[in-house]
Amino acid sequence: MNKKESFLRKPAVQTLLSSLICIVLGLFAGFIVLLFIDARGAASAMVDIIRNFFRYPSAAVALKYFGNTIVKTAPLLMCSLSILFAYKVGLFNIGVAGQYAMGAGLALYAALGWQLPWYVCALLACVSAALLGAISGFLKSYCNVNEVISGIMLNWLSLYTTNMVLTKVKETTSPYTKNIVNVNHSALLPNIGLNKVFNNNQYVTIAIPLAILLSVLVWFILEKTKFGYELKATGYNKNAAKYCGMKEKSNTILTLIISGALAGLGAAMFYLTGYEQWQCTQSSVPGMGFNGIAAAFLGGLHPVGAIFSSLFIQHITEGGAYVDKTMYCSQISDLISSIIIYLCGFVLFMKLFINKRLNAHDEKKGGKS
């Protein structure tokens, strides 16, 4: 085996490479779809998507819009951390979307209804989402109900609970919740000067460094601590975990609690900036949770990788908004970004493919020598 090949066989290199290939494939597939809808604008639409805020010639304006992208990256990152944390323990927490909705509900109600300060709002969001996780965990451990099933059920439950609760604090003339800025300033996340960095973008808050810090923390817990060792052992082989005296049932519940808390905190990190208001008539859970799944896989299921994959996914989602709406219908931005995101989920498959090619290559050489 020569140097180049053994380099290609390194797991970290493979993950990175597969992620990049998936991104390229995703962009390409999106482009094909645009071509089919209307060939004339396809190239420029694609450029718009990739360019996102770079379209603005002035650095200052671009910086402000970059701020917007990262404001939405923070919750996405939290959702992908939530997914990957559970995934490492062998659980697929599809309930992340509902936990995110519940977190949003509690955070906003605490801010608008009870007029509480931001840290209490965030804490309540965390706790409520963690409780949802606990329900899934309990059902899994003691009633053998698959967490995917209970997660999907709870997604609907939490969406409508949130809609119902937040209707009490909505604006009288629209289906949206009141604007925190007008009602309760103390509930806004502190900017700690970051707004200045991004050309006075008031939405850039403590949430962003906090989310990055939490990624590192999640990595640390999973890789460096006794707790992480136990959780991963339970995920890989729960019979062996039981055999060596780990509490595999409570570990399952605890994992989903932590996973839920991460998603709930993500919701607080977004809605407590005042960037967006909750629409009390929405009939599906916010896509943030589901996009978190793609971000987790695109990031190679690594907490630090998730930082970059979340940023990328949010970047193209935002970029989609700039596609020429006179040529394409208004759903096009969502469609294209979902196609790209969808292909981003193929990282594991890509890795398999790379290895197969390497093996085939090896063999050819073996045959010649």
């Binding site: 460096k224 601590t225 006794k226 707790f227 060792y229 136990e230 991963k232 052992a233 890989y236 082989n237 019979n239 062996a240 975990a241 039981k242 055999y243 060596c244 005296g245 780990m246 093996n359 090896d362 063999e363 073996g366 020598s369």
Partner: protein, 515 residues
């Protein structure tokens, strides 16, 4: 002259990260012969067979079928060439019937509809012809390991395979089933099929094989005619030294009672009756007590009850004077119980963890490996694992960082044994500790069990192997249908008497008898 070889593997080399699993190996399989493949754990037997079956691509070497060079890229190619394999761990779909498993991938179809009736007739005919008793409609999860294996064999025959590979087929079978399997293999070879047979049990090889190829540490040692060789010679070829088959131990007077079991009853998962019925016995320090019996007579559930893997229904378990009937698994472990589990993949190992992480599975929480803040002390873990690897001769590609999944079956078992023995337990519960091990490793493990006893620890051994039952323990307890039916002294009993107890023909403790 017509070519006499069905398969020739010439100069095969297969390299894994850190290890040459097969180093220039040559294996020639004659038509219609039973050819045994012998070698220590990790010698590269499974790897060589996987190359033949198309699961791995060798770095070097060629394969010839009937004298013509062939390329085997994947198991489908192998199947097209008439090569079939029964793997060390079966590959059956649990929730499918025997019939569905056999036809999987080669389903007979007419106009897009499955023709199961035809398939069933063919299967029944095959099963009749070779004495492979199966119930085509039973689900895999409901049938015995023996019948699962017969299903695997039928799978090969259904595909009209001419070359049959058996990777350690006897490791999971009862003595009776082994006898049946040998007969089946003889029938198959009489039919003209060529068979490759991997086993660690020399007596099986002597009984059934025509020729035997020996590997050692990935290298080809030689091929011998079984009729011209002896068991000691085979083991010398395989290990590179003489192996002592007899277990040496001096008489000892046992000390205090370490484990005291009274009236233990454990429910069964398979049926409504109890799997363990009102069992009482004790194990003292400095003695090895063996639970003997045919597989499935409650031994597994008894061990689950003793180790806390399953709750007990009635009775008490006392260890070193303390009632541990309802203690947690962790409590039992830290109080001096070690457990070498029956199923190493299910309980014994986290296969996706590295070897070092598996080595600390029972002690990761101790201050030596975890700091007060809850972080793992990686340097200590590494040096501890390396110490055990060295001491117990656990072989693997990359040492402490090797993934447990990529290790050979026997070395996985050695890793578990190293971990459990190093705790210096007051009570060691060893369930089939030598399953799947080569003779050298078995000799070593038996020595270790005796050393535990001589150091004044109590050892409870559960074994299905008559050899082991007769030579290792100081006392034998025979289990039949969930009850202990006899206590025997290995020095005074013989295999025949043992067989009578194991089959339920003799019972010293039958309750009605006392009336």
């Amino acid at each position: 002259m017509e070519n006499q070889y069905a398969i020739e593997m010439l100069g095969i080399t297969k390299i894994f990260p850190g290890i040459i699993a097969n180093d220039d190996i040559t294996l020639q399989l004659k038509k219609g012969e039973i050819h045994a493949l012998l070698g220590e754990n990790g010698a590269g037997k499974s790897t060589l067979m996987s190359v033949l079956f198309g699961l791995y691509q060798p770095e070097k070497g060629i394969i010839k079928k009937d004298g013509r060079q062939v390329k085997i890229q994947n198991p489908n190619d192998a199947n097209d060439l008439g090569i079939g394999m029964v793997h060390q761990h079966f590959k059956l779909v649990e929730c499918f019937s025997v019939l569905d498993n056999i036809i999987l991938g080669v389903e007979p179809v007419k106009n897009g509809f499955l023709q199961k009736k035809e398939a069933k007739e063919k299967i029944l005919a095959l099963s009749e012809k070779y004495g492979l008793k199966v119930d085509p409609d039973a689900l895999i999860e409901d049938i015995t390991v023996g019948m699962q294996q017969r299903t695997e064999i039928l799978k090969m025959l259904y595909r009209d395979n001419e070359i049959l590979i058996f990777d350690e087929p006897t490791a999971v079978l009862t003595p009776q089933e082994i006898e049946e399997l040998m007969q089946i293999m003889r029938n198959l070879s009489a039919e003209g099929k060529s068979i490759l047979f991997i086993s660690h049990k020399l007596n099986e090889i002597m009984a059934v094989a025509d020729r035997c190829t020996v590997l050692r540490k990935g290298k080809y040692i030689g091929t011998v005619n079984v009729a011209d060789t002896t068991m000691p010679e085979l083991s010398r070829m395989m290990v590179g030294r003489d192996v002592e088959f007899a277990v040496k131990k001096e008489d000892r007077t046992p000390g205090d009672v370490i484990l005291d079991v009274k009236g233990l009853t454990v429910a069964s998962k398979l049926h409504k009756n109890n799997a363990v019925k009102d069992v009482s016995f004790n194990v003292r320090s400095g003695e090895i007590v063996c639970i003997a019996g045919i597989d499935g007579n409650g031994q597994t559930e008894l061990v689950y009850g003793l180790t806390g893997l399953e709750p007990v229904k009635a009775g008490t378990v006392i260890m070193k004077g303390k009632d541990i009937t309802h203690a947690s698994i962790r409590e039992r472990s830290v109080n001096g119980m070690s457990h070498i589990p029956e199923d190493r993949h299910k309980h014994g190992l986290v296969l996706d963890y590295s070897l070092e992480d598996n080595m600390i599975l029972q002690r990761y929480f101790e201050p030596e490996f975890t700091s007060k803040a809850g972080t793992l002390k990686r340097a200590n873990i590494r040096s501890y694992a390396e110490k055990l690897i060295d001491q117990y001769d656990v072989r693997s590609g990359q040492g402490a960082i090797t993934k447990a999944r990529s290790m050979s079956g026997g070395n996985q078992q050695k890793a578990i044994i190293a971990r459990e023995l190093d705790k210096a337990p007051d009570l060691l519960i060893a369930v089939q500790p030598t399953r799947g091990l080569d003779v050298g490793a078995i000799e070593y493990i038996h020595k270790q069990l005796v050393a535990q006893r001589d150091a004044g620890h109590a050892v409870l051994l559960v074994s299905l192997e008559l050899e082991e039952v007769m030579t290792v323990p100081d006392r034998i307890l025979v289990m039949y249908e969930g009850e202990i039916v006899g206590e025997l002294d290995p020095k005074k009993t013989n295999a025949e008497e043992l067989g009578l107890y194991m089959s339920g023909a003799k019972n010293d403790f039958r309750k009605e008898a006392a009336v």
